[in-house]
Symmetry: C2
Subunit: 366 residues, 2 copies
């Protein structure tokens, strides 16, 4: 019998796990939120991932549960783990991806470099932190944020009054004066094997990842890799771990966010690495040997296809230009939405890869 | 609305079209022979591809029909074409892949180099050909053969008596004293664009492809490419065309067989080319621009995973060795069956790629 993996969430990350699951001879099942999800071709159940009974029903049909997103309530996962279901990453690791206050506290314990941070519960706390950090800070809701949501620049406690009024602790962090953003992708299995890809540079646009360059030029690769390994082991992460990093003018690396699943910064690995992040995530979740993360060509550039309007789904058209690999996610069109991505490889230079990708990207515009 | 492509046949070739169809934002539907086909995740209908009503019902659900195999009766395709359904490759091209006598006649008209051949209907005809060609020949049933089936070495008409007794014309060919077998893969769309991959060497074992090396070393690449283009244009082929070639000691290239669909000799292109044969087949069938066939690394070696027994499905195991890409087809195990394949790439040499592939192959053995 083929081993079966269950993915909670039917987004593009689940969609991109389908192909390596087939290639490896695994059975893949998806618990999707809606009938028309990007991963619908593997969806065996549609339902609310916050509902214990629904997730349990799904869990019974697979050998191991993993995720397309980190929003399944911890209480649901803890209950299922107590009942003997296998979940990778486990609730013990996942809580640090779900709760940014827990994450900051644990990383600080592990000695991992973070921006200055504090837990704040009152406007006095918040103003004190802002004043101590140059009059500006980043306020975050500990849970539920992604792609710039749940994150706000504050210059006084008044800017966070509405969130403080909710009565839950908030996370405040120094506004790091970074020169660029990097991401260190790696994966770890239950047996403790760990493997990292090359450090990449990520370029955001309006808080959303627009572009990824692999490898990042002239960075402290060893430090980034050590940080990722410390986190993967210290938090007992299984599956893919993405560590988003700020690089400062002094070459410091500070951890920004974590994700414990395939991540936008690793889409280049489908063509750019012997083993893609999607295949590696499946291998890691099943505690199988990890695959080689060797680059297939020296340079890779990934551009996100962000929604331009209500109609352009970036599908195959006569205007399609050649040379890069196009992935569309089968979503309905919406401005700013991640509709797909393209990856171009080169043995020449990042500039060459970017030029190839850019031409293809132009051809897909409305 | 996404364009939809319908594939008749649910084998591994259809299975490997699913991933690029998703990546390109196409809807893919499969008419499979059985419930548990390799392409079952995209199967929308199960039924007999020889039954006009069943194929018509399927054709109504898609924009264009294409194939996983060449066994759909020509009469079914001609009827559907007359009714206005789009089929790529068309019945006009496909008849040359279905009937080897028609193929030989047409290639000879086009001046494409073939082994000596004749149409035989009697033991007299057959003995005459055998005697004129050194006392040995290859006898073939014009239709229905593949992977060594419907092909037989004959030294006298007695060796073909049972086939002759069926009362249908047979194809007899000289037994070419070849030094190796090559395959030229290319694709053509309805608008006439044509693109070829590098010429590959194919290594057979018991009449079944066991291994493919890309590129073939020291061959007449230009001649092979010209032959493929002449055939693609002369036979009005749309989609992927595989031309199997014999290379003689004198460096002659003689056409052995044709296939008008993705082909075992092109599986390396999934990782080894910017555009895989599966993606290209979809692009060509939809008359979209063809993708780049540039190699991603200098050398690629593909090894078929041929069934060893009734249990080894070559799925992900703890013994899995690293460095190559594994594709299993989700078939039940059977000796000699094509259960999957692995591809290794290298910028060093074919020998390096083969060594990587071979290690992975060893790790998957029973």
């Amino acid at each position: 019998m083929a081993k079966s993996i269950g993915v909670i969430g039917g987004g593009q990350l689940a969609r991109m796990m389908i192909s390596p699951a087939h290639a490896l001879g695994l059975e893949i099942k998806v618990l999707a939120e809606t009938e028309d999800s990007p991963a619908k071709s593997a969806a065996t159940q549609v339902g609310d991932y916050k509902d214990l009974a629904i997730v349990r029903e799904f869990a019974k049909t697979v050998d191991v549960i993993t995720f397309d997103h980190e929003h399944v309530p911890l209480s649901v996962l803890e209950t299922l783990e107590a009942e003997g279901f296998k979940i990778e990453p486990s609730s013990k690791a996942l809580r640090f991806a779900q709760n940014k206050l827990d994450m900051r506290a644990r990383l600080t314990e592990l000695g991992v470099p973070c921006p200055n941070w504090a837990k704040v519960e009152s406007s006095q706390d918040l103003d004190k932190f802002i004043n101590a950090n140059g009059g500006v800070a980043i306020l975050k809701t500990p849970t539920g944020g992604y792609d710039g949501k749940g994150v706000r620049v504050v210059r006084s406690s008044a800017d966070g009054a509405d969130w403080l009024a909710l009565g839950e602790p908030l996370l405040v962090e120094e506004k790091v004066n970074f020169v660029r953003e990097l991401a260190q992708l790696s994966a770890r299995n239950r047996s403790g094997s760990w493997a990292s890809w090359q450090l990449v540079e990520t370029i955001q646009k309006d808080g959303v990842c627009a572009e990824v360059h692999s490898p990042a030029s002239n960075a402290n690769y060893e430090l980034a890799s050590n940080i990722a390994k410390t986190i993967a082991e210290g938090l007992d992460v299984t599956g893919v771990l993405a560590v988003e990093l700020f690089e400062t003018a002094q070459g410091e690396l500070l951890v920004n966010e974590l994700a414990m699943r395939p991540h936008n910064s690793g889409h280049f690995s489908i063509e750019g690495s012997t083993t893609s992040q999607f295949e590696q995530h499946l291998r890691a979740a099943l505690d199988m040997p990890l695959g080689s993360t060797k680059s297939t060509q020296s340079f890779a550039v990934m551009l996100n296809l962000l929604g331009q309007n209500d109609t352009n789904t970036f599908g195959l058209t006569d205007r399609m230009v050649d040379g890069a690999s196009v992935h569309v996610y089968g979503k309905s069109a919406r401005v700013g939405r991640k509709m797909g991505h393209i990856t171009a490889l080169s043995n020449e230079s990042l500039a060459d890869a970017r030029q190839i990708a850019s031409k293809v990207w132009q051809g897909l515009q409305a």
